[in-house]
């Protein structure tokens, strides 16, 4: 379960505490209780990030001489990375994976389900919610095995196609990216659905009613009222699912392990393979650093996007 249900969201999340609340004047020792958290974060989160930048300039390897005493090799790893034919492929596959499975798949399906739930019978909405969430609550390795079984040569999907008189391809070999994208939509849609369900609940019913009485049709109400009113939730959701999808590894590793060839080698898989299969920790770390930078850009855009609504 990589996803967090909780969204650090826009609405007035003033970090300094609420206006009008009385605060005791702060003295430095009062901040003492924050120290354990800072120590943990520095050692285990900031540490690896700094180490990642440092390690990407060395020829550290998994075993042998270079494992204990890696040498400083400057930008060699990056030069190699940018001339490696797998890198642009991998970067492209990652973009496709994020766009297709998160931005398009999870986001629109999640929004669609949340909107439909508002029209559907309460009981149906509850049952559907549970089914969608079930895929999301499962441990990631179990979800990955299940997806593997579903898309394999004689798996459930092809059995269904057979029943309809069609012969399905071997999805994991012929269309590995499609299988992975669908599997990630299956696994991750619950998050978007929950975010949008919470957002739609906050749209005041009076406004939709007023529009209805004024004769606005369903589509008009959706695009002119509902969507603009949940805009900040949409931004939040898009950023979070993008970041979550950028760090999907297990699903891809179990389903195709990046193959066949390199046809589904997204960046996390490439970093893992270079580091642990080809024993080149330094090179793997350079790939990790590139991923970190991509993640950081998204995070900054996201935090910026939240700022104006702080009021």
């Amino acid at each position: 379960m990589t996803a967090e249900l909780i969204v650090p969201a826009p609405a007035g999340s003033a970090p300094a505490g609420r206006a009008g609340r009385r605060h005791k004047p702060a003295t430095p020792w009062r901040l003492l209780p924050v120290v354990p958290a800072i120590v943990l974060l520095l050692i285990f989160l900031a540490g690896p990030v700094v180490w990642s930048f440092y390690g990407s300039f060395t020829n550290a390897s998994l075993t042998g001489v270079n494992a204990q005493n890696p040498a400083w090799i400057g930008f060699d790893n990056y030069l190699r990375l940018f001339s490696d034919p797998v890198f642009p492929l991998s970067l492209g596959l990652t973009v496709v994976f994020v766009l297709a499975s998160a931005i398009i798949g999870q986001n629109f399906l999640g929004l669609g389900i949340a909107l439909l739930m508002n029209r559907a019978h309460r009981f149906v909405a509850g049952v559907v919610g549970t089914c969608v969430v079930a895929a999301w609550v499962l441990p990631e390795i179990v979800a990955a095995f299940v997806a593997y079984a579903y898309f394999s040569q004689d798996g459930t999907l092809n059995q269904l196609l057979n029943a309809l008189g069609m012969t399905g391809p071997n999805w994991l070999y012929s269309f590995p990216m499609l299988a992975i994208v669908l599997a990630n939509v299956w696994r991750g849609t619950a998050f978007s659905m929950m975010v949008y369900r919470a957002a739609l609940n906050d749209v005041p019913i009076e406004i939709t009613e007023a529009a209805m009485i004024d004769g606005a049709g369903g589509a008009k109400r959706l695009f002119l009222i509902t969507i603009p009113m949940i805009r900040s939730s949409i931004t939040t959701n898009l950023m979070l699912i993008t970041l979550q999808t950028l760090s999907v590894f297990t699903l891809v590793w179990v389903m195709t392990a990046g193959g066949p060839g390199n046809q589904s080698t997204i960046l996390p898989v490439m970093a893992f393979q270079e580091a642990f299969r080809f024993s080149d920790i330094g090179y793997g770390t350079a790939i990790a650093t590139v991923m970190l930078l991509i993640g950081a850009v998204f995070s900054i855009v996201y935090i910026r996007a939240l700022r104006p609504s702080k009021g």
Partner: protein
């Protein structure tokens, strides 16, 4: 709650609105129900294999009705090496990470919630930035850092790492929960001479127990399901949690034992499903959402 409400239970104004749009209404509700049921089926379909294979002695990757109902698969995997020790390791890792996370977040959230300093804002923004970090990206550098510090294959270090990765989110949630505990009660305690830490322990923490429960369970579920972190950081089979043991056992030797794989997956998934049900039913999903969404 819902934007459209069934006519039978609606107040006058909604009934009026409903009747304005009523010719389409019944049709659209029917359509919505139909589409939703279809979507639910699509989401359930892949899970059918898991359930059916787990009770089928001759299971394969095909979904098929078992010829005979059998608990043989469960019996086969219920051995100390295969199930009990990995599950116990999973429990140690998850419980350890959750306890460390919750205690550290309470301590950190208290000054952030109660005192305003110049330090608060940059700290909360760094925290928010931390929640966004793609953890998968840093696993290779984490591995080489752990090798350097000789922390590889250490349960303790793995617990601390998992705690650190969930800390940003946990601090964010805990602070928001704590902001909603009125400060008046503590002020009374301060006047009576209690220290800030006593007030925190005796007054604030008991009042925010449900919120802390949510934080604890979310960290626990996340750690329980985590595959990549222990896969990289724990090497000896005796320390590996269920996520890793299931992968190495079935990935390497078990290409035939699909039924056992499914049975083990079920055993491994049940605890988190129960915990999730506890959070969403017992405490209300909207409650846990609001804890983090509203500042």
């Amino acid at each position: 709650m819902r934007v459209t409400i069934l006519p039978a239970v609606t107040p006058v104004s909604t009934r009026l609105a409903a009747s304005v749009a009523s010719p389409n209404k019944a049709v659209s509700a029917l359509l919505a129900n139909g589409i939703l049921v279809l979507i639910a089926l699509c989401f359930l379909l892949p899970l059918a294999w898991l359930v059916l294979a787990s009770i089928d002695e001759r299971a394969s990757y095909q979904t098929q009705l078992p010829t005979a109902l059998s608990l043989e698969n469960f019996r086969a995997v219920l051995t100390p090496d295969l199930t009990f020790r990995p599950l116990w390791n999973s429990f140690l890792l998850s419980a350890g990470a959750s306890v460390v996370t919750v205690v550290t977040s309470i301590l950190a959230a208290y000054p952030l919630s109660r005192y305003s300093t110049r330090f608060n804002k940059p700290f909360m923004y760094s925290i928010l930035f931390g929640t966004c970090l793609p953890i998968t990206a840093i696993m290779v550098p984490v591995y080489s850092l752990f090798v350097r510090l000789q922390l590889i294959d250490s349960m303790g270090a793995t617990i601390l790492f998992m705690a650190a990765t969930s800390l940003p989110m946990a601090i964010w949630m805990t602070k928001n929960f704590m902001d909603s505990v009125p400060i008046g009660l503590e002020e009374a305690a301060w006047v009576d001479g209690a220290s800030a830490m006593t007030a925190l322990r005796r007054i604030v923490v008991p009042l925010m127990r449900p919120g802390l429960g949510v934080v604890f369970i979310f960290v626990f579920i996340q750690a329980w399901g985590n595959f990549f972190v222990p896969f990289i950081l724990l090497l000896s089979p005796s320390k590996q949690p269920a996520a890793v043991s299931i992968y190495s056992f079935f990935g390497q030797f078990g290409a035939i034992a699909y039924g056992q794989l499914a049975a083990f997956s079920m055993l491994y998934s049940v605890p988190v499903i129960l915990l999730y049900a506890l959070v969403s039913r017992g405490m209300g999903a909207s409650f846990s959402m609001s804890g983090a969404i509203k500042g």
